[in-house]
Amino acid sequence: MKYAYYPGCSLTVSNKAYDVSVRAVAKALDHPLEELPDWNCCGATTFMSVRELYAFAVSARNLALAEARQVTDLLVACSACYTTLNKANIYMSEDADLRKRITGALGAAGLRYDGSVRVRHVLDFLVNDVGREAIESKVVNSLSGLKVAAYYGCQMTRPFDTFDDAEFPVTMDNLLSWTGAEPVNYPLKTRCCGAMLMTTSGKVALDLVHSLLKCAVDNGADVIVTACPLCQFNLEAYQDQVNRTYGTNISIPIAYFTQALGVAMGIPLQGLELGKELVPTVKAFASYAGGSQ
């Protein structure tokens, strides 16, 4: 098994905290991540909305780069990149005609992909490859008493329920419980955050964000934990607007699951980029950070 890490554009820009915390946690678990050199944008949902073959081929360039380095498992942190790359990979393996067309496009650029790479979510890697025993052995600050709502968003388990259930996944809840934290019941855990609709049809997305925040608060969560940069941003950046629009008084921090895990593993808060949020997480995590500050 040979891994390579695909951060995705958002993690190099507005959601650096996810990238930094993924790398810090993996390193502390003795699996330092090696970034896939010269990776390109996966195409996101927008490419597929404009050009079909080009969208698949742009995704497949990353798979070709990974294969050329004998990578077997491409680890993806952003849920949207994960689904986009995984979809190109799976459709290419299932459909001979599409495979031929994508192969042609890659060939024009002197690239080739024979389908030997698996696309994996970082959460899947941590829970199923690194595993419970290794993770629990590194927990030095129990998050006991911290109530977390594990929010998976839509694209981590859909349309491909590769490592967990499409409707009601539990992988992240389990991982959090290994740190001592208490996952609360969160029925909307795979409901959509509105994604890019926040930019193009704000009211529709705001309604979704309101439901997600309210559901977490009503279930007693101190913090919402996520694994997708767009979910993180939508849930934290629009809380003021939700409060103004719906007459609520919500203020709940939105952290990456790797930040919560990192705190439990004794990684200093700044080593997890905690402190760059719009809704501060420090109050939720500081008391657990123990002597690591």
């Binding site: 944008c41 949902t45 360039r61 496009a105 690239l111 409901r191 959509c192 930019t199």
Partner: protein, 197 residues
């Protein structure tokens, strides 16, 4: 020889749609839609759609696809795949939505003032250029085109993001070799996206 979008007549819209949907892996399952409405009931944004996902297939069967494309419907799809995993007939509704978005752009059929086609096309332009998405430039372009005053409203959040180092002003780029590969892929795809070659 490829036909340019403006030369296309609406008469073949349904046929072109079907041809493209059949090319999606598993796309032929669209024939097995039983109009149960599971897709519409599962969709987190269907309440805001002029036509729900179920009605899209009904409209297509009735030869009214252009009405759907002119409405707000397809651009309300956030690609959450709830409909796709729940459809009892195994229809990949989200992939069909993507095809409808592409058709809308190709035929110039979308709701007046629809912002998503603009955003999507700009996104492609930037990734073509840099190999990666420049969030700052994309949003700046988007607001300048669709709602320049909106930038004023966004300013407080933008300033907070800049202060936290989360809104860089320079784009991240891949290597010149990588960008050349992207350019060649784009050039190759040409009109083949739409199956004309």
């Amino acid at each position: 020889m490829a036909v340019t979008p403006r030369e296309r007549s609406l008469a073949d819209l349904g046929a072109v749609f079907l041809e493209h949907v059949y090319r999606i892996p598993g796309g032929e399952k669209i024939k097995t839609c039983i109009q149960c409405g599971t897709c519409s009931g599962s969709c987190p944004t269907s309440a805001a759609m002029d036509y729900t996902p179920r009605e899209i297939i009904a409209a297509f069967r009735a030869g009214l696809l252009d009405k759907v494309l002119r409405s707000n419907t397809v651009w309300m799809c956030a690609s959450c795949y709830s409909c796709s995993v729940r459809c009892p007939s195994g229809i990949k509704l989200t992939d069909i939505m993507y095809e409808l978005k592409r058709l809308g752009i190709e035929y110039g059929l979308y709701a007046k003032g629809a912002k998503s086609p603009t955003l999507s096309k700009d996104f492609l332009t930037l990734v073509n250029r840099y190999g990666r998405n420049s969030e700052t430039e994309m949003l700046a372009r988007f607001f300048m085109k669709t709602n320049p005053l909106g930038l004023v409203g966004m300013a407080p959040m933008g300033i907070k993001m800049i202060l936290r180092g989360r809104l860089p002003l320079l784009p991240d780029q891949i290597s010149p070799k990588g960008r050349e590969e992207m350019r060649k892929i784009l050039e190759y795809c040409g009109d083949k996206d739409r199956g004309e070659a």
